[in-house]
């Protein structure tokens, strides 16, 4: 059976290579990454003192935030707007050409068939990712610092995001009759996740929680070097569910009613798995500057707190101070004290008309009956308030623990030539070579001869 599956993988590889959509994505990826990389390196260099600019913030400089997050954002763009068409072409093409009716008659399960497509699409995506890898090579050649764990985290996040896109596109291509319908449906889901993010920003609460698992939010966390187990588990669950849905609807010989009930059962199982996954708390900050964590001394101090900690925040969902508080302090706090209870109190979504309320803007901290209030949203102020109600005090931060950054005042030499010249030329050459007929790589049945009876 493995051998038959490999034949299928071989077939899917050939179909991918003969797909112009994939070549267009490959071609576009160079300039897309190039624009982001060149702009990021230039900004990084100027902030690091290039051309006589002031070096005031150099010690805080992290290539993760300054270079890799913007450079890899090209992958996010390609995953949202280019990859779906490639995936739909590979999955829907079989139905359009009639190949599906032939291939369905093998004894292979529909999930194995869709898995072959997913594996090849992911492989195709990794080939496309050669463009950001070139950016890494260029950065190293400039003398830039590379911290492999954070880079691997960013790349891993984008692979996971591509997996989500592939699963979604496979499901829509399988459920719908025509590729154009599948494309509209896929983009609608993508836009739908943006709407969830928007609603979350306005209403907070459960929406905010759900928005944390949209591809945009997921990629943002990976781009900051943070790996959250719940996010990874939920993304993997959604990928398997998408491919499962595609497999269900690929079986043309099964009654639509049965396929619909199987889809509903799969949906219920997925919802349960996502719900459970949301309670998984481990996370790892793999960024060099520990941007997602409090200093180690503070984490050690916070870990000593045994009594339940409750924080009451009187800020509206759209108030920039609440966003600051979440990003700078509360998200870090949750990683150390997963069971911290945080309650938000507000009467409106933007908070503009609550400013006159005497308690608006207050942040209350409560541990074992002791309470403290503050209006500051910085990490330092939050920690100070927590220490004041708990009586815990941290040891001082050592010199080794302070991230000094890696300023680099070098312009993006040769990058334009690589991404706007060499890359398109190489892709065009490869496209021409791939267009030449190839023999079966699995030609065990003698391409000139035949199999024996």
């Amino acid at each position: 059976m493995i051998r038959r599956w490999l034949w299928l993988v071989d077939k899917e590889c050939r179909e991918l290579i003969s797909s112009r959509a994939w070549w267009v994505m490959l071609l576009a990826m160079g300039p897309l990454v190039g624009v982001s990389f060149i702009s990021a390196v230039r900004t990084y260099a100027e902030a690091s003192g290039l051309n006589g600019t002031a070096i005031g913030v150099g010690e805080a400089f992290s290539p993760l935030i300054g270079v890799w997050a913007p450079t890899f954002s090209a992958c996010e763009l390609a995953a949202a707007f280019l990859l779906p068409f490639v995936a739909i072409r590979l999955v829907g093409g079989d139905r359009q050409s009639g190949a599906l009716k032939i291939e369905l008659q093998s004894q292979m399960s529909a999930f194995a068939r869709i898995a072959a497509k997913a594996v090849v699409l992911l492989g195709g995506w990794i080939v496309v990712s050669a463009a950001p890898i070139l950016a890494i090579v260029l950065w190293k050649s400039y003398g830039g610092s590379v911290y492999p764990p954070e880079l691997a985290t960013v790349a891993g996040g984008h692979v996971l995001n591509a997996g989500l896109t592939i699963a979604l596109a496979a499901a829509t291509a399988s459920v719908t009759e025509h590729p154009s319908t599948a494309a509209i449906l896929t983009l609608s889901v993508t836009v739908g996740t943006w709407i969830v993010n928007f609603i979350a920003a306005v209403h907070g609460g459960l929406w905010e929680r759900a928005a944390g698992y949209t591809p945009t939010a997921m990629v943002a966390e990976f781009q900051h070097g943070l790996v959250r187990m719940d996010v990874v588990l939920i993304a993997l669950t959604l990928i398997v569910a998408g491919l499962g849905l595609a497999a269900i609807w690929m079986r043309l010989g099964v009654a639509v009613r049965r396929r619909a009930s199987e889809s509903m059962a799969l949906g219920a199982l997925t919802a349960a798995a996502v719900f459970l996954g949301a309670f998984v708390t481990p996370s790892w900050d793999l960024s060099e500057n520990r941007g997602n964590s409090f200093p180690k001394a503070d984490e050690a101090a916070l870990a000593q707190i045994r009594s339940p900690l409750r924080i009451e925040v009187h800020l509206a969902p759209e108030d920039p101070r609440r966003v600051d508080l979440n990003q700078r302090a509360l998200s870090k706090l949750r990683r150390v004290i997963p069971k911290v209870q945080i309650d938000y109190v507000s009467a409106t979504s933007i908070g503009l008309f609550e400013q006159t309320s005497p308690h608006y803007g207050e942040i209350w901290y409560e541990v074992a009956g002791r309470r403290a209030v503050s209006r500051s949203t910085t990490a330092e102020a939050v920690l100070e308030s927590i220490y004041s109600v708990t009586g815990v005090s941290p040891r001082g931060e050592t010199e080794d623990e302070i991230f000094r950054g890696h300023p680099l005042a070098v312009p993006p030499k040769n990058a334009a030539m690589v991404f706007y010249g060499i890359w398109p030329a190489l892709v065009s050459g490869a496209f021409f070579l791939a267009g030449l007929p190839r023999r079966s790589s699995f030609a065990t049945h003698a391409s000139e001869g035949g199999r024996q009876g």
């Binding site: 051998r3 003969s18 009639g98 599906l100 032939i102 004894q107 010989g253 699995f442 049945h445 035949g450």
Partner: protein, 246 residues
Amino acid sequence: MLQVADLTKRYGHLTALSEVAFSIRPGEVLGLIGPNGSGKTTLFEWLGGVLPADHGIVRAGDRILTARQRSAKVFYLPDGIAPWPTQTVRWALNFIVGFFGGAEGPPKGGFSRTLATIDDVVRQLDLTSLLDSRIGTLSKGQRKRALLAVGLLTPQPVLLSDEPFDGLDLRQSRDVGRTLRQHAAAGRTLLLSIHQITDAARVCDRFVLLSGGRVRGEGTLEELSALAASRGAPSSDLEEVFLALT
């Protein structure tokens, strides 16, 4: 022996097939004959497992086959498709043998037959000059022969071919008919959907006459002639018999 029974397929209010029943004997060439819209393709698609039906079973002896068991016995070659258009004919033939596990021999419990080799099929269907052509660039007749080769290389003991002579010229049509007979002689069971009755008369051992989604007659030409005669239209010509019974 396979027996199809109680096959009914509706598209909304339209009944495409109604209580269709007939048998398929090992090693025979069975012609499914009917006018356009009589339900031939619907019947084939259901047998091939690519279309659901409202009712219907396939029996092998006393055993009712599941969909999976049916797909181990029956391969359906659709008409009017152009699979893998960017790949060559050579690749497609190799792929079919590799993907369907032809090299591993026929499925357990299948009718005994000698599996065709790629060489044989290429020679029989005159495909040598087309081996390195992309399927998408072939003419209708060339594609028909290439796809017939695909069907003949599959390991399932029963091959259903929808309109195998469509798009072929007279000479090719005769060559293809001869090839099909050779494969039947080697033990392959063939069920051919044909709307050209002259082609059917030349190639098939028995016939199932389908019209308006119902089986109007089943048997050899002699048996069908007798049936037509019993209805007051005696003839030994298949066309006349068909017109009398449908």
